[in-house]
Symmetry: none
Subunit: 416 residues, 2 copies
């Protein structure tokens, strides 16, 4: 497989305020060509540092894309550094000089003398015309592949990349297909998930499998490359199908962009069902998740954030005696909260969450992180008890996700 | 001046979808120490490539910060690569092993065998404890300066960076006084804010003034450097005081870590007052903001997410006739929702939010993005109408922030 490195040039890209987003676009185009990006770098406007970086990159990788530093001023050092690293001379191109002069005349702007710097080309470079600015790009074939110089402004970079650079790169890259299969997973920790599926994926270097994690939400990505669609899809089936079997209903979707609340909304809509929520420790987060998507009024009915015992009784009709007998964080109270919310909202289902998010509270039996999730509906009310780890933020986030998952599994089971 | 390089590790950071934002935070902290970041790199989970990159970086720079790749799985290669580059052995730390075992016990999760990888330390490394995750950071003094290994998840990275790494780096960086003054601002757009305060700050290169923005929330940072505290504080007064005067009550705090909901909680506690919320378009976000902080039960009473007209009537006692006469998104309904929530929760104050978050809905008079915020309390009920721009996410986020700000201003005014 051909490999590429991207070097973005500009001191402003090394401040705490700026991220380099140009490289995402370049990565996307390179990946579509079947080229793997193995390294991205950001270097300031420093000739020596940049020269050294380019030297190393062309030793390591087939394709090196330089972004930025093609302006007319002294601190635009990319042309000089590339020439030094490639041991080529920079020569004024008479043709580019006249293009520049014409461009300035067209813009009705006087051309400052330093603008001429933009008409210098590396020996043997092909020009990548820039209809949106004054700095032309440059393309240099090397023994191993190619080096490209692209301008930094996205308006100039994007068309030059897609219309000029990509067609040239096609000649030096063997044709290749890349396809991705994803699983979004909840209800299991990252290392437990990895222990389950590593025996399957670790035997394969193609597809490449990665596991990403955020609280209560894991991604498994399989990325396969090959000569044709059939071959690539066969690889994704060969590795993905056993993973799907192992994950069972812990995988809530194979659509990388579908969140758990979107899945629940889709299932509720399909069942012509509605939902309400009664929250204590999640304090509105669960309702916020369920109302995140446009059109959620099709299935979301109401939310009750009953933080006090008085509110649990007066709004959700949880008997005071029940709370006193079992405390507010208990299985019977979670069940009564769900039933009360369902009655109050006249919804098909209701979820409840009560627990100890911390950092204070908790008992010997129910320490901080313990959450009860209730589900009331046409079937008998159920309550699950889960112990989450971590701080208040993590427990609240995971409890909201956990409640959505309780409803998802129930809906899947009863949709037949 | 001391120089630093940052290497972010993770194959996912080389995809077209992901940018590395961790390095911004690290850059900010290094700059505050007077350290210049000269290069940032992103490398995939590849042991050989990463080893070579670390070797080069420690040759060139005083400080090298490695971010990510400290997880428990085979593709977490940072520990191995750093050990190879620094020619140091990796040894199982019995102490870290017991920290890990305790952590998993506390989370009530079985510890998979591969988690033990996280207990290996480079010879001579100092541990940077990680209260928010399982991977400890590591700090290694070198001849030229230091190498640090930090975890990738921002929630783990940030406190470790600020509380553990920065104090250690202070020992290897020449003393320079740097002090920051911050203003957190809401209720005004970024460019309007900048037009107001640029005439003050743009005359000074020290302090350096930056404005950062997220939906409904702006930061003004003044960063002054000098030889002694008196000189630096004088600079911060000279520029900061006129800015404070211009901002008036739009600045809700000068504590960079105090969010708007924390300010509201502080004011409520001081007033011995409680609050309830009635939400339509924000769907629980406002309640979630008010319950984000530990101890919020001191002032937060209840939340009602009344998404349907029926719920607005049955839960909040908003007269059906009022809704039919004015529609659910209107000033009288916002007022009635706030009053209903206050009565139901028996709270000192109640906030209500009703509006069109989009992407559908809205009327000629109240287009998408229009939100009514009601406030009921011991004083006459007030309603403000605000038009937010942007998508559903942005409108919901800004409306929750806007509602908090309505209550903040009211509390400030009536506390005397």
């Amino acid at each position: 497989m051909k490999t590429a490195e991207i070097i973005a040039i500009g001191t402003e890209l090394l401040t705490p305020e700026r991220v380099d987003t140009n490289s995402l676009l370049v990565t996307e185009q390179l990946n579509l060509l079947g080229v793997e990006v193995t390294r991205k770098q950001i270097i300031g406007d420093d000739r020596a540092r940049l020269t050294e970086a380019i030297e190393r990159a062309i030793e390591r990788s087939h394709i090196v894309v330089l972004i930025g530093g093609l302006g007319p001023t002294e601190d635009d050092v990319t042309r000089d550094a590339a020439a030094a690293a490639l041991h080529r001379k920079l020569t004024l191109s008479v043709e580019q000089e006249s293009v520049l002069i014409q461009r300035f005349r067209q813009f009705n702007r006087p051309m400052a003398k330093n603008n001429l710097r933009q008409a210098y080309l590396l020996d043997g470079a092909e020009v990548l015309p820039n209809p949106n600015g004054t700095a032309p790009g440059q393309f240099i074939s090397t023994d191993r592949g190619a080096v490209a110089l692209l301008p930094g402004p996205p308006r100039e970079l994007k068309p030059m990349l897609i219309e000029q650079l990509v067609p040239k790169l096609r000649y030096i890259v063997p044709p290749q297909i890349i396809r991705v299969r994803s699983f979004r997973v909840t209800g299991i920790g990252e290392s437990d998930l990895d222990s389950l599926i590593a025996p399957v994926y670790s035997k394969y270097s193609n597809p490449v499998t990665t596991v990403l994690s955020s609280p209560g939400d894991l991604f498994v990505h399989l990325r396969a490359t090959g000569q044709n669609v059939e071959q690539v899809d066969e690889l994704l089936r060969e590795v993905g199908n056993p993973i799907a079997e192992i994950l069972e209903d812990r995988a809530y979707t194979e659509d990388a962009n579908e969140t758990l609340d979107m899945v629940v909304g889709r299932l509720l809509r399909k069942s012509h069902a509605t939902v309400a929520v009664a929250e204590s420790c999640t304090g509105g987060l669960l309702a916020a998740r369920l109302t995140d998507q446009p059109g959620c009024s099709d299935y979301f009915q109401a939310g009750y954030v009953t933080y006090t015992e008085e509110q649990k009784s007066s709004v959700l009709n949880v008997p005071e005696a029940l709370i006193h007998a079992h405390t507010a964080v208990s299985e019977p109270v979670a069940a009564a909260m769900a039933q009360g919310a369902r009655a109050k909202a006249r919804s098909t289902y209701a979820l409840s969450v009560t627990g100890f998010a911390g950092p204070t509270g908790g008992t010997d039996f129910d320490p901080i992180g313990t959450v009860y999730i209730g589900l009331a509906g046409p079937h008998p009310t159920t309550v699950v008890r889960i112990r989450y780890g971590g701080d208040r933020y993590r427990t609240r986030t995971m409890a909201a996700q956990g409640a959505l998952d309780v409803l998802r599994k129930h809906l899947l089971q009863h949709m037949g």
